[in-house]
Amino acid sequence: MNIDYSQEVPTVAGRLTPAQIEELVAKPMETKPNKKYFIALSISVSLLLIGATFLAFSFYYGTGLWGNNQPVGWAFPIVNFVFWVGIGHAGTLISAILFLLRQKWRTGIARFAEAMTIFAVMCAGIFPIIHTGRPWLAGYLTPYPNQHSLWVNFTSPLVWDVFAVSTYFTVSFVFWYVGLIPDFATLRDRTASKLKKTIYSVFSLGWRHSNRHWTHYEKSYILLAGFATPLVLSVHTIVSFDFAVSILPGWHTTIFPPYFVAGAIFSGFAMVVTVLVFVRKIFDLQHIITLDHLEKMNKVILLTGMMVGYAYAMEFFIAWYSGVQAEQFVFINRAFGPYAWAYWIMVSCNVIFPQFFWFKKIRRSIPAMMVIVILVNVGMWFERFVITVTSLSRDFLPSSWAYYRPTIVDFGILLGSFGLFFTLVILFTKSLPVVSISEVKAVADGAQPTHHGGTDHE
């Protein structure tokens, strides 16, 4: 296939008109869900209930039901937390960074990815709270004047986490909602049902598509994107600080911040591709979420996968180079110790398999990319497992070494978080526009005036 580089690739395929775009996006909300939808929903709700049951057990009997024990006190809950926060990075990245880079292809996937961000951060938020063992006391994490006259420790990375994740959730939500306002207005104006109209009216805030508003609206989008971009970086950076400010070999290494961020983008994009492949098929959005968009995402996955590989290599090299015995041991132990199986799953899924994306055919083949992105998701979960567990299970003192084994409750709660995530995603697809209607309209063929007003020759 020969590409004509002198032409821009159209963002929306099939020369859709604005009306057709609106029709396509609004369709899932205006039709009754079919059988398949309910089957998918019941599967994910069952997963959610499994998780809820195990969580209830954990609350009743205590966290002793989990595999966490000395010396591995930070096991599954932290692994899952970092995993989900990482997944949550793709959304804001697509909506903010790609917006600033003026990548028009983001319009088709931004809304969905942002929603996934919000859901993933919700899943992530559960874990540190339940990990404390006393979730009802989570309010102590906020600095408020209290009867103990104590303040939270602002020098602790765990408090930074509280601020980072809650800020991230709030800003992502605001960003998402601001993007939804014009779409709510459009839905309000096309629905026939009175109830729906009331609901959409409330959420649209009475938006009138006024150009005097669009001016500020576009400015606010730039401002929000400008803030969300460093925010995205900061969140996973701060998550990496949880590990890296300590002195534990394998945790304390300076490359952690960019390495975690690259990993987060990597896993987040993989998750977005995983879900989008289904969504575009089920809701006939192939023209809006085109194969070109997926290919571009796969390229980003390839690039970030290599960044992660670079970080693995650098950690290994510097561990040897440092001449510090404990550092050297940790990395040998990771690759050849009792957790070697996890390490090699991580390396093969994160570094080796994504290399297939060098080939254009694989980048553009739906089944092949499905396999690879799911492997990437697995690999990125194992990355967090390797980092958290191997370093803790064998630290400085050989007498306190132990092999960590998760229990069935650990797996149940992890499964439950997937259930929560997919339940929210499935509900989202039927209740809100999965693609930003106004943004896609704006990048469709002939949507913009030909050079600032057609006849304008100034």
């Binding site: 008109t17 604005p18 009306a19 009802w136 600095p143 006259s149 104590l150 303040w151 420790n153 602002f154 020098t155 930074w160 601020f163 980072a164 800020t167 709030t170 800003v171 605001v174 960003f175 014009p182 207005a185 459009t186 309000r188 104006d189 009216s201 805030l205 009475g206 938006w207 009138r208 598509h209 006024s210 150009n211 005097r212 508003h213 669009w214 001016t215 500020h216 609206y217 576009e218 400015k219 606010s220 401002l223 929000l224 803030f227 460093p230 925010l231 900061s234 950076t237 701060i238 106004s438 309209k441 704006a442 002939g446 949507a447 913009q448 005036p449 030909t450 600032h452 007003g453 006849t455």
Partner: protein, 388 residues
């Protein structure tokens, strides 16, 4: 057409973005000020066509962002270095590098949230679901895929006929006259509705209270109180004797405790010697402790004039020759061990304090039986002139 209604404006819709840009330019150049363009998405170049000034929203962001940073830094400074300074990880109280993450997060949080709120509330004057444009054919078409322009009746140059003519010349798809909606009262402000809310609130909270407290007997959270642990002075089922507290293993000694070897002996043949010099601080300490523990029975000057008025047998004076002949160690032994009706004070007065009391008793004894040489010494020191 209903002429009783008040006109909000006259709207025209167009099919292509090029047409709307031209229309907006013409409307602007004809001197209309109070008009608006409604498009389903932002059309490039419209701002310059309408001569809209760049958004000032950035100022809100700048100001709120900077104040977010300042609030965060000051707050952390105050809590961590002023209100409750704690040494954590050997870092200074004002550990600036460690404050940067939270400062950054609060900057972003405050800047973004207030920008959006300011935009919606101040710049857009939203929510406004009562605007005359709502529920019009015009709104429905610009919400979907048409491009519209409205000239509002508040404009100085507004005149129904001329504006309609003007817009017709632009060759629009359709022209629509938009009226102000008839006044309707919002149900949310009706007193009945507010009453309903109050009733619902009362029923829900009252019902919850009765349900939890009176039917289910669920106590409020007191997790800190009821912990599965041994409490001092409480019984416990864990041990067979039912006591929560344990006695120390025989032969063990608490940290810092120096055992007293003559405990229980009424007339020890040998005693300890005083390890403390009668310095001023030591005597001050002894004085304090004497007044606290000894003076109720022995009297303020160790005369044996108890303040207890016979409720307890008076101790003998310490100024007798027997008392004065006691060695330091013997007095210490009596305080530690007790004698006759006097109980042991070992658990109330620390070792050092007991020795300090001994020194102070010596001071009292010497003062009560001062010799002439003492008087000369005293006069020399204080510059007084007291004679015996």
């Amino acid at each position: 057409m209903n002429n009783d209604k008040k006109i909000f404006g006259i709207a025209a819709t167009f099919k292509t973005p090029n047409e709307i840009i031209i229309a907006a330019k013409k409307v602007t150049s004809s001197g209309f000020v109070e008009f608006d363009v409604n498009t389903p998405y932002p059309v490039h170049g419209m701002d310059s066509a309408m001569k809209i000034k760049p958004s000032k929203l950035g100022f809100v962001t700048l100001v709120t962002g900077l104040s977010g940073a300042a609030i965060a830094l000051l707050f952390m400074y105050w809590t961590m270095s002023v209100d409750y300074p704690l040494v954590i990880g050997g870092k200074p109280f004002f550990a600036l590098p460690a404050f940067i993450p939270v400062t950054f997060e609060l900057t972003v949080l405050l800047a973004t949230v207030s920008t959006v709120i300011a935009m919606i509330a101040l710049f857009f004057r939203l929510p406004d679901n009562k605007h005359p444009l709502h529920d019009t054919e015009y709104m429905k078409s610009v919400s979907a895929d048409k491009y519209g322009i409205v000239i509002e009746s508040t404009d100085a140059k507004f005149d129904e006929a001329s504006v309609t003519d003007f817009l017709k010349k632009l060759n629009p798809l359709k022209i629509e006259i938009i009226y102000y909606p008839e006044e309707e009262s919002y149900p949310i402000f009706q007193p009945k509705f507010i009453m309903l809310l109050v009733v619902i609130a009362a029923v829900v909270s009252g019902g919850t209270y009765l349900m939890l407290n009176k039917l289910m007997y669920i106590t409020p959270f007191n997790w800190m109180m009821e912990q599965d642990k041994l409490n001092p002075q409480h019984s416990s089922e864990l041990f067979s004797d039912g006591f929560g507290m344990r006695t120390p293993v025989e032969g063990t000694v608490a940290k810092g405790f120096i055992p007293y070897p003559y405990m229980g002996q009424t007339n020890p043949t040998e005693v300890l010697s005083n390890p403390f010099l009668p310095t001023k601080e030591n005597i001050e300490l002894g004085k304090g402790k004497y007044f606290t523990y000894c003076s109720p029975c022995h009297g303020d000057f160790a005369d044996g004039d108890s303040r207890l008025r016979g409720q307890f047998p008076n101790p003998p004076t310490l100024h007798s020759s027997r008392g004065r002949d006691f060695s330091d160690g013997m007095i210490y032994h009596i305080i530690t061990n007790g004698q006759n009706v006097m109980p042991s004070y070992a658990s109330q007065i620390t070792r050092e304090e007991r020795w300090a009391i001994v020194n102070y008793v010596r001071v009292l004894q010497r003062a009560k039986n001062a010799s002439d040489s003492d008087l000369i010494e005293m006069n020399k020191e204080t510059g007084s002139n007291v004679t015996n």
